[in-house]
C-alpha cells in the first residue's frame, strides 16, 4: 500500500504525464467536456418537465416512475446497446450519461416545485400572479435548494461514470485508467481513479459555492440547504394525500 502511494506520487511527479494529448491537463479538459454536455442537456430537459409537472400537480407518478426506471438502467449495458446500434464515439457516451443525469434533476425539480408550501402558492395566485409568474418568481426560487441538490448528484455521477468513454474509443480520464488496466499498471490505474475522484469533488465544491451564492438566505434559516434530491422519490408518493386535505386552488376560467 505504501509502495503504491509512493508510486502514484512519483507518477504525478513525472512531467511526462503532464504534457501532450495524453497528459493530465488535456485528459481533464476532455473529461470535463464529455461531462458538461450531458449535464447541460439534462438541465434543459429535466428542469422544465419537473417544473411543469410540479406546478400543475398532475403526472407526478409518471415523473417518479420514469426517473426510477432510468435510474435502474445499468450504464455499461446502455452504452453497449447504443454502440451496437450507432457506432463507437462520443454520441453514445453522451446519451448514456444523459440518461444518468436526468433522474436526479427531474426528481429534484419536481419535488422542489411541488413541495413549495401550498399557502405560499395560494397567496401568490391571490395577489394576481399569472401561472408563469408563480412558477418563475415563487416556485422555482423556493425549489432551488432541491434543484441544485439534484444537479450535484447528477454531476458527481456523470463525472464518475464518464470514465466509461474510454471503453468505446473516446478519451478523458478514463483513458488513463483503462490504459493502465490493459497493461496491469496499477500505478497508472490508481492515478486515473484518483484524478476522477478529485475532479468530481472539485465540481461538487464549486456547485456548493454556487448554491450558497444563489439560494435566498431566507431559505437557509429554516431548512438545511444540503438536502439532496436522492431522497426525493419517497416524497411524491405522499403528495396526493397531503394535497387533498387542503382545498386545491382552482385555476381561473380562461
Amino acid at each position: 500500500m505504501g509502495a503504491l502511494l509512493a508510486d502514484v506520487a512519483a507518477w504525478f511527479g513525472d512531467s511526462a504525464n503532464w504534457t501532450g494529448a495524453a497528459g493530465v491537463p488535456n485528459r481533464v479538459l476532455e473529461h470535463l467536456q464529455y461531462s458538461i454536455v450531458p449535464i447541460l442537456l439534462a438541465l434543459l430537459i429535466a428542469v422544465p418537465i419537473g417544473a411543469a409537472v410540479g406546478h400543475s400537480g398532475r403526472g407526478g407518478f409518471l415523473v417518479v416512475g420514469v426517473a426510477n426506471g432510468m435510474r435502474s438502467l445499468p450504464e455499461l449495458g446502455v452504452l453497449t446497446i447504443l454502440v451496437t446500434f450507432m457506432s463507437v464515439g462520443l454520441l453514445p457516451v453522451t446519451i448514456a450519461l444523459l440518461i444518468l443525469a436526468i433522474p436526479p434533476l427531474l426528481a429534484g425539480t419536481y419535488a422542489g416545485v411541488s413541495n413549495v408550501d401550498r399557502a405560499v402558492v395560494d397567496a401568490a395566485r391571490g395577489m394576481g400572479m399569472t401561472e408563469p409568474e408563480i412558477l418563475t418568481k415563487v416556485e422555482l426560487p423556493n425549489a432551488l435548494p432541491l434543484i441544485i441538490g439534484g444537479l450535484r448528484t447528477a454531476t458527481l455521477q456523470v463525472i464518475a461514470t464518464a470514465a466509461i468513454a474510454a471503453f468505446v474509443g473516446v478519451d478523458g480520464l478514463g483513458r488513463i485508467l483503462f490504459s493502465g488496466l490493459a497493461v496491469r499498471d496499477y500505478t497508472r490505474m490508481a492515478a486515473g481513479a484518483l484524478l476522477i475522484a478529485v475532479l468530481a469533488l472539485l465540481a461538487d465544491a464549486a456547485l456548493a459555492a454556487l448554491q450558497r451564492l444563489i439560494v435566498s438566505p431566507g431559505l437557509r434559516t429554516s431548512t438545511s440547504s444540503r438536502r439532496r434530491a436522492v431522497v426525493a422519490p419517497a416524497q411524491p408518493e405522499q403528495l396526493p394525500q397531503s394535497r387533498s386535505t387542503t382545498p386545491e386552488p382552482e385555476l381561473a376560467r380562461s
Binding site: 397567496a123 391571490g126 394576481g128 434559516t221 386552488p249
Partner: protein, 369 residues
C-alpha cells in the same frame, strides 16, 4: 359594492359549499362572514377574487361582473390575506410587501418606498425590512401579510381567518390594529372567521352562515346579539349574548353620580369623614384613581397607598358603552363603578341599577322606533 346574486358553488365531487347566496357587501365597511367549520365561508370569500370559480349566479363589484375580465388583473386590485400568512420565504420582508406594486410595474425603487411606508403603517419596525419571513413571529408575519395586501392601495381587502393562528393576546392586538387602520383607510373589507367574538368586535355587518353555504342572518352585530333570527344563530352567538350585547349600546345619558374621594396624603379622620357607605376612593394629585379604603380598616395614621384595596375596571364616560359601565360597577369592591374622563381623571360613580335602567330605556326607544 360587492354583490352576490344567487351565487352557488358545487365542487366537482358534488359538495355544494355555497347555495344560491344573495348578499351585498357595503363599501368602506368591514363585513364578517362567520359560521361553523365547513359552512362555506372561505369558498364564498375566494369566489370574490376568483380563487374559486363559481358554478352558478354572479358576483358584481361596483356593478361589473367579476368574470368579465382577466382573473390575475382582477386579483391585483383586491388585497388578499390568509391564515398561514403565505409570505414568500425567499424574499425579504420589504420585497414581500412590494410584491403587488412590482407586479403592476411600478419600478423597484418606488415599490420599495411604498413598502417602507406600509411597514410603518402596520406597526413593523424598519429593521425588519431586510429580514426573511422565517425570522418573524406569527403575529409579525400576519402584519406583513396585511401590509403586503394593502401595498397597491386596493379598494377591497379579503381576509380569511388572518388572526386565528396567533395567541389570544396578539390576536386582540392585531384586531385593534385592524380597526385603527380601517378608521384611517376606509377599505371595503370582507373578513372570514369562525370566532363569533371576533366577528362581533370587527364587523360593521356580520353574515352568519349555516352549513351548506346558507345565510342564516345578515345584520349589525348589536342586532345579532339582541335578536338572533333563529335557534341556530342563537346557539351560535353563544352564552352571555345579553351581556355582550351591552357593548353595542351607547352609554350617553347614563347618570354619573357623586363619588367620595380623598387625596393620597389624607389622615384617618379625613377618610372617615369623606366615606359614603363605609368606602372612599383615594386619588392621585392628577385625580387618577389609586384604590379604595374601607372605613372598617384599622385607620390609625394617614392613608397608606400600598395597602389600598384594588379597584375594578374603569368606566370611560367618553368612549365606553353600557357594557363598560356595567363592568365597572360589578367589578368595584364598593359596588360603585369609577367613572373617568378621557385623561383618566375621576369624574364620578356609576351604579349597576342605573345601567339596567338605561338598558330598559334603550329597549323602549328601539321598540318605538
Amino acid at each position: 359594492m360587492i354583490e352576490f346574486r344567487g351565487v352557488t358553488k358545487r365542487f366537482p365531487d358534488g359538495t355544494v359549499a355555497v347555495d344560491a347566496l344573495d348578499l351585498a357587501v357595503e363599501d368602506g365597511k368591514i363585513t364578517v362572514f362567520v359560521g361553523p367549520s365547513g359552512c362555506g365561508k372561505t369558498t364564498s370569500l375566494r369566489m370574490i377574487n376568483r380563487m374559486v370559480e363559481l358554478t352558478g349566479g354572479t358576483i358584481l363589484i361596483d356593478g361589473s361582473d367579476i368574470m368579465a375580465g382577466d382573473a390575475a388583473q382582477l386579483r391585483r386590485g383586491i388585497g388578499y390575506v390568509i391564515q398561514q400568512s403565505g409570505l414568500f420565504p425567499h424574499r425579504s420582508i420589504l420585497d414581500n410587501v412590494a410584491t403587488v406594486p412590482l407586479l403592476l410595474g411600478w419600478g423597484k425603487r418606488k415599490a420599495r418606498e411604498r413598502a417602507t411606508e406600509l411597514m410603518e403603517l402596520v406597526g413593523l419596525s424598519p429593521e425588519m425590512a431586510q429580514r426573511y419571513p422565517a425570522q418573524l413571529s406569527g403575529g409579525q408575519q400576519q402584519r406583513v401579510g396585511v401590509a403586503r395586501a394593502l401595498a397597491a392601495d386596493p379598494p377591497i381587502l379579503l381576509m380569511d381567518e388572518p388572526f386565528s393562528a396567533v395567541d389570544p393576546v396578539v390576536r386582540e392586538n392585531l384586531q385593534d390594529e385592524l380597526l385603527r387602520l380601517q378608521s384611517e383607510l376606509g377599505k371595503t373589507i370582507v373578513f372570514v372567521t369562525h370566532d363569533i367574538d371576533e366577528a362581533v368586535k370587527l364587523g360593521d355587518k356580520v353574515a352568519v352562515f349555516r352549513t351548506g353555504g346558507l345565510l342564516a342572518q345578515y345584520d349589525e352585530p348589536g342586532h345579532l346579539l339582541a335578536r338572533p333570527a333563529d335557534d341556530f344563530v342563537d346557539g351560535f352567538v353563544g352564552r352571555d349574548r345579553g351581556y355582550r350585547g351591552l357593548g353595542f349600546l351607547s352609554a350617553n345619558g347614563l347618570p354619573v353620580g357623586e363619588l367620595s374621594t380623598v387625596g393620597s396624603g389624607a389622615t384617618g379622620d379625613q377618610v372617615r369623614e369623606a366615606a359614603r357607605d363605609g368606602w372612599t376612593l383615594v386619588v392621585s394629585d392628577a385625580g387618577h384613581p389609586l384604590g379604595w379604603v374601607q372605613v372598617g380598616q384599622a385607620l390609625s395614621g394617614p392613608v397608606d397607598t400600598d395597602a389600598l384595596i384594588a379597584g375594578g375596571s374603569l368606566y370611560d364616560t367618553e368612549a365606553d358603552s353600557l357594557r363598560g359601565a356595567l363592568d365597572a360597577a360589578l367589578s368595584s369592591p364598593s359596588g360603585l363603578g369609577v367613572a373617568v374622563d378621557a385623561s383618566g381623571a375621576v369624574v364620578g360613580s356609576v351604579r349597576a341599577a342605573d345601567v339596567l335602567a338605561a338598558l330598559a330605556t334603550a329597549r323602549r326607544d328601539e321598540a318605538a322606533a
